[in-house]
Symmetry: C2
Subunit: 249 residues, 2 copies
């Protein structure tokens, strides 16, 4: 029945830059069994190439094409729709978006975790494009992230700011949005019903996948907290990736 697998990355494959016990072997087993596979993440501060280097340095045997990020989902959408985006993105994504930067007469707004580029002039420019009918396409709408011992504004507040200003609703291509899961499945060429998502975040990974019609397995590693399974009663549960793959794949 199961035909394809999606894996969250941080907290499922590794913690603190070290592979979780059995994770390297579990990924290899999925590859050996021939499952179409995507490692999915909302990371919008680095491109697929950088994530691939990081994973291979830890010993994971995956190809760059098996990594599907929110920025990848945005690129996929922008290219299929033939849009010319105005990009408010993190410098870490500039290589990946190289052919879409500084296009004349933009007709869409792409917003990632632009951090220091979130200033009045850039946001006002984005606002004016939205008023002209440009769609707002985002890599996620997280409220904040933890860095250097404190919480900091993520992209979500700026998404809400522009939505309110222009009276529009963003297309959010990041977990847990159904649109993101749909994009990953298209990239994978698999149906939702035959695809299993394995993750440690009960909202982004598990509830999101279930809402998109996928099967989902919550692992008790990474950001898992006791009782999280109660928030997704129809999900499978496993101690970690190794057990999830051994039992369900």
């Amino acid at each position: 029945m199961l035909q394809a697998v999606l894996l969250d990355i941080s907290g499922v494959l590794y913690e603190d830059d070290r592979p979780l016990p059995g994770a390297l072997q579990a990924v290899q087993q999925l590859q050996d069994k021939g499952y179409p596979l995507r490692l999915i993440t909302n990371t919008s501060r680095q491109g697929r190439a950088a994530i691939h280097r990081q994973l291979t340095a830890m010993g994971f045997a995956v190809t760059p094409q098996q990594i599907f990020t929110s920025p990848q989902a945005v690129l996929r959408h922008v290219r299929m729709a033939g849009l010319r985006p105005y990009c408010l993105i993190h410098p870490g994504l500039e290589d990946e978006f190289a052919d879409l930067l500084d296009l004349p007469e933009p007709n869409a707004v792409v917003l990632g975790d632009a951090e220091m580029r979130f200033d009045y002039a850039h946001l006002d420019r984005a606002f004016q494009l939205l008023l002209d009918g440009a769609p707002l396409i985002c890599m996620g709408d997280n409220r904040y992230f933890r860095g250097q011992g404190a919480l900091h504004l993520d992209a979500g507040p700026f998404v809400r700011a522009l939505e309110y200003a222009a009276g529009t609703t963003a297309l959010v291509l990041g977990k847990p949005s159904a649109a993101f899961y749909a994009s990953a499945l298209e990239d994978l060429g698999a149906s939702a019903e035959a695809t299993l998502m394995i993750g440690d975040d009960v909202i982004a990974d598990v509830q999101g996948a279930l809402a998109g019609g996928l099967r989902a397995c919550l692992v008790r590693t990474g950001k898992y907290r006791a009782g999280d399974e109660l928030r997704a009663p129809t999900a499978w549960v496993a101690a970690d990736l190794a057990e999830a793959v051994a039992r369900f794949c």
Copy 2:
């Protein structure tokens, strides 16, 4: 019955920097009759002193103390609550807020139309204070304003951004909020039922005042558009300030 009067400024007293017909005399009549009077505005790019200079240059006989702006309402609130605000405000307000700038260990966030100061570092600092429990106090939550032939982001989008990030709700001390009208009445020392608000903006001036329990008169000058009276059926209506004062005061 009527004991006090509130007047909107732009579009009621003047248009294009010139007093509207009969407006100078109407204000003088209100003064002569001894009504406690406040000229109220959401302007958060200039202080009361600058507005007073502008009005007296046009010939209006009012004192600075009769001008009550959103920044004034914020100052009133901050001082009465003994707060030490972190101020994200327009440079035009720095004189008025001089004794509140750069205070150590701020325990509140004050947000006006900061324009170019709306950047990641300032917003992230405000966010962290909100996480620590500081209240968010705003001079308005307008979505945009018109300037130099285009619409530009006003403070409202940044209010929504911080509310979303920190999971809080701002205290908005600008028209049409009931809190702003309550503050103006306190400054005036008058009760809502005995106070008349005269304005050209059916939402900010008229609906706002009615919701706060005041009486309201819509004038057909400034931003008035045909049919606006249908959006506030319980408001009085007059051709302009001169007629409103002659008929109702």
